[in-house]
């Protein structure tokens, strides 16, 4: 069994005094693409924020590539190659696409490869190359999402965390984005994705995890996330 690249062990955290994650454990194994699914408000985003250092863990441990990263700052974690693309893609609204991408490679070690990485991002998202001088706040939702993912790639991640990348996108854009993420996975970047759309996950990820009430409820093997199962989870219909 290969060594997990990310290992979350018995994680408890929340907001104020209100716990959201009640001892969640989860691993991303070497080489796999993991999808998370589950109802709103049950801790998926909180999990990501804690893993990437935005939230503090109350207890439990997070290990990334064998190193304990619990309690490190977000910037330190990003430097280690664990890059989180948050939900909502507000980005840096007043900055140009180009600047925004450049900042994704802020740490000096990554700056040197910045130009090359940027070319790769533009290859994946040709539309961004056209809009490179445009301010982020003037972009459409799909374009912003591309910039957000692009920024994540600029950080030269080993593991890329994507939080609902298709939120509010049209089916056509969703498809485009899915292909792009597929291309990213093919370049050897591992991903951890939260998504409402099970079809999307099934196409991209090798394993899916169902999270409810701050715990992992069910673990599905690749491809076993069946339509009927989803219909049940979503609509309560069989």
């Amino acid at each position: 069994m290969p060594e997990p690249i990310l290992n979350v062990d018995d994680l408890v955290t929340g907001y104020g005094r209100q716990p959201v994650l009640h001892g969640l454990s989860l691993s991303v194994l070497e080489g796999e693409a993991l999808g998370l699914i589950g109802p709103n408000g049950h801790g998926k985003t909180t999990l990501f924020r804690t893993v990437s250092g935005l939230n503090r863990a109350w207890s439990g441990q997070i290990r990334f590539m064998g190193e304990d990263i619990t309690g490190l700052s977000a910037a330190q974690i990003a430097e280690r190659g664990l890059v989180h693309v948050p939900q909502g893609n507000r980005l840096f609204p007043q900055m140009s696409v180009e600047d925004c991408l450049d900042l994704g490679a802020f740490s000096p070690a990554k700056r040197d490869n910045g130009a090359a990485t940027r070319d790769r991002v533009f290859a994946i998202f040709p539309r961004l190359a056209e809009r490179r001088k445009q301010r982020c706040r003037t972009l459409s939702g799909g374009e912003r999402q591309m910039v957000a993912i692009g920024c994540g790639l600029m950080g030269q991640p080993k593991l890329l965390i994507l939080d609902e990348p298709t939120l509010g996108l049209s089916p056509r854009l969703k498809g485009e984005l899915r292909d792009a993420i597929g291309a990213i996975i093919e370049t050897g970047v591992q991903v951890l994705i939260v998504e409402q759309d099970p079809e999307f996950l099934r196409r991209l990820t090798t394993r899916q995890v169902y999270i409810e009430e701050g715990r992992v409820r069910e673990d599905f093997d690749a491809g076993s996330l069946e339509h009927d199962k989803m219909m049940e989870m979503y609509f309560g219909l069989r």
């Binding site: 990003a78 948050p86 507000r90 609204p93 900042l103």
Partner: protein, 294 residues
């Protein structure tokens, strides 16, 4: 005297006066605008940092007799250091609190009192005086102004330009703006917000120190030297609007020329009250300033 000629010379004087005042305000407001427009922190200690800058320059250049350049360098270094301390002690510890706005108003006000009275304890209440950078007069549009003021007229916009370019093109400048626009996304990009705050405050304070040195040669240096300029700078940056360096420049020139024009037509007597009135009016009509954004 010919009326047209009189009107022309008056126009020239208003122009020269407006330009001198605006440049003065640009210089004073530059540093304040940096932390205000990027980090959204209103530093009430800005005026007091100016004072320290002026005094340090006086100690080094006049008291110790090491010359103007050494004085300026020392002033910039000392004020930058104070800027870092202000950030470390008066801003950073409170960033997580929900009513950060009120708290930083209070802590920076406290900082202002601390610095002002430290200056009083260290340098005493007697007024001090710095050498002008350039002696003699220069003619501007037919009106004479002092060489020192001419330097300010030239340097102040350059300073703003440099500040703008720094924020626009340098890695650090972009990172500072990034932290301001979306702190979490910046952190996820590997930017350390505390460091950016420290740098922004250091630069801002150094600019205040510079303004203090320039002002200290045309006004007397006293521990309360910074109070009036702070209020002017406040008006300028608010007029300019949050998130906008060009707005600050516009604000400074509007206030400066507005003051000159108002002095000509309304007289000096009502000009000050007018300024506050217009200030409040603009805030009510455009809360985010003339060029401000959400």
């Amino acid at each position: 005297m010919d009326f047209a000629d009189g009107a022309l010379s008056a126009f020239r004087a208003v122009f020269a006066s407006g330009l001198v005042l605006s440049s003065l305000y640009v210089m004073i407001a530059a540093g304040l605008a940096l932390v205000w427009s990027t980090l959204g922190i209103f530093n009430f200690a800005h005026g007091a940092i100016m004072v320290i800058g002026a005094y340090v320059a006086w100690t080094v250049s006049i008291d110790l007799g090491l010359g103007q350049v050494a004085g300026l360098v020392a002033a910039l270094a000392a004020s930058a250091l104070i800027g870092v301390a202000v950030n470390r002690l008066l801003v950073q510890p409170f960033l997580a609190q929900p009513n950060i706005i009120l708290i930083t108003v209070m802590t920076t006000l406290s900082g202002a009192f601390f610095l002002e009275n430290s200056a009083l304890l260290i340098w005493g209440p007697r007024i001090k005086q710095l050498e002008k950078i350039v002696d003699g007069n220069v003619f501007l549009a037919g009106t004479a102004i002092s060489g020192h003021e001419a330097v300010i007229i030239v340097v102040a916009p350059l300073m703003m330009l440099a500040l703008w370019a720094f924020l626009r093109f340098s890695w650090t400048g972009k990172a500072i703006r990034a932290v301001a626009q979306n702190r979490e996304f910046a952190e996820l990009s590997g930017i350390r917000p505390e460091r950016m705050y420290a740098i922004a405050f250091a630069i801002s304070a150094a600019l205040a120190g510079f303004a203090g040195v320039m002002l200290g040669a045309i006004r007397f240096i006293t521990p309360t030297l910074g109070a009036d300029p702070l209020i002017k700078a406040m008006i300028v940056v608010i007029l300019g609007g949050l998130g906008s360096i060009p707005g600050t420049i516009l604000g400074a020139y509007l206030v400066g020329f507005g003051e000159a024009v108002s002095t000509y037509f309304l007289g000096a007597y009502w000009t000050q009250a007018m300024m506050f009135f217009v200030f409040i009016l603009i805030l009510v009509i455009r809360p985010n300033g003339l060029m401000g954004r959400e």
